[in-house]
Amino acid sequence: MNRKKNTQKKLVNELKNQLMIQAERLGIKEDYSLLFMEELKLDSVKKILTEFYMERANLEYEMQLAGSAKKEIMIKLEKLNAYIRKAVGVQNKHLGVYGQILDAGIGDKELTQRAVKKLEPTKVRASA
């Protein structure tokens, strides 16, 4: 099982490398920054989570209808819930990485906040 997983990972990495080489030749490698890759990752997690939630809703509906095959559906639901928890964990992890990359791009936080405040329009109160 572990061997199969490793093979799949290798295959995905190889495909990714090939696409990166092609992107370099096309002159768009700069577009695929770390931030962009994290965005892609977050989009993928969102998509996967949506699919999981849809599957869970289907299983719950089936469970309401099913009479004798409830046990099988229960096992499936448990497994699916575990996957959903893991997906949420992966999402949080990548959100953290995304935030770190953004912070690194901003530089000094205090200075940036001060600059943003200066850019904000000043409120003028009408005198009585």
Binding site: K5, Q8, K9, V12, L15, K16, N17, Q18, L19, I21, Q22, A23, R25, L26, I28, Y32, M37, L40, K41, D43, S44, V45, K47, I48, Y83, K86, A87, V90
Partner: protein, 173 residues
């Protein structure tokens, strides 16, 4: 004794060929007259015989008429016909070379270095052919940018798919 009499093995046909009189070169003027009698000559000239075997050219058309006639001869008609055939052929070639160029130019950006190198040579060759068939440089540039835009879109979609698979493996695997 002639050489032929000694040569017993020679067939009758060969003998005939050997003793045949050499052909006299035809008089071009006579030939032209015969041709003139048969119909209108292509050049528009007419040969006249004054009865003393002195042939003269009698052209009854002036220069302007000659120009008109020359543009209405069979030769010109053939040129037009061959022109239409070549136009069809060039259109067909244009399409084929265009297809070849698109595939070769797409392969120039391949991750496979050997394929990319071979495609570079091929692109140069096909570009030359396309120029001969009549493709303008602007058209060629437009085709190039179109292929590049398609490849960029393909690359982005493929990367999205790969990242999706990677994430799925991270969760399920």
């Amino acid at each position: 004794m002639s050489e032929l009499a000694l040569n017993i093995g020679i067939s009758n046909g060969a003998k005939e060929y050997a003793i045949r009189k050499p052909q006299v070169a035809p008089n071009p003027q006579e030939e032209a007259l015969i041709a003139g009698k048969q119909g209108v000559r292509e050049s528009g000239f007419e040969w006249n015989d004054n009865g003393r075997a002195e042939y003269t050219i009698a052209s009854k058309i002036d220069d302007a008429e000659m120009l008109l006639t020359s543009s209405a001869t069979d030769v010109t008609a053939r040129v037009i016909q061959s022109g239409t055939i070549s136009a069809e052929l060039s259109q067909e070639l244009h399409g084929k070379f265009k297809k070849l160029f698109v595939s070769a130019y797409a392969n120039v950006f391949s991750h496979n270095r050997l394929l990319a190198k071979v495609s570079e040579w091929m692109v140069g060759n096909v570009m030359e052919r396309l120029a001969l068939v009549g493709m303008s440089p602007a058209e060629l540039e437009a085709l190039k940018s179109q292929v590049r835009a398609d490849l960029i879109a393909q690359n982005r979609v493929a990367l999205q798919q790969v990242v999706y698979d990677e994430t799925m493996l991270e969760i399920v695997g």
